[in-house]
Subunit: 82 residues, 2 copies
């Protein structure tokens, strides 16, 4: 069966996010001053062929740890949908 | 009050996602052949100061339309958390 795994990769809270700061400045220039902070990460959708949702989660975790996220700078969350 | 708005920006389904295809190839090289498709988008967290969740949603939508998403190539979804 094909499961859809949503992998959300975000920079660690303790770290500066220069891309987010640049976007925050851009929003200010556009007059959207009510936005007080911006953080930018990745959203990755995997289509995983697996016999069960647990197995699909294991495959998505391995993919996230090995390739999708940099554990030094980023954290990830995975949600599996059938 | 400060609301947290999650803006998920993904490439349109009809369009090729070359970044996703490159990651799919990389996962295959790592032996993760059960991943059949990959699509990569952005996940943006905004901290929005607004009197109500509806108002925060309007501000986040304006930010997404004006700066965060390219409507020609990308679609976006917004979720507001208080």
């Amino acid at each position: 069966m094909i499961y859809s795994a949503q992998v959300k990769v975000m920079p660690h809270k303790e770290l500066l996010d220069p891309q987010g700061k640049a976007v925050l400045g851009g929003l200010g220039n556009l007059g959207l001053c009510d936005v007080k902070d911006v953080r930018i990460g990745k959203n990755i959708t995997l289509q995983v062929e697996a016999p069960s949702a647990d197995e699909a989660m294991k495959i998505a975790e391995e993919a996230a740890q090995k390739l999708l996220a940099n554990p030094v700078m980023e954290m990830f969350e995975i949600v599996i949908n059938s």
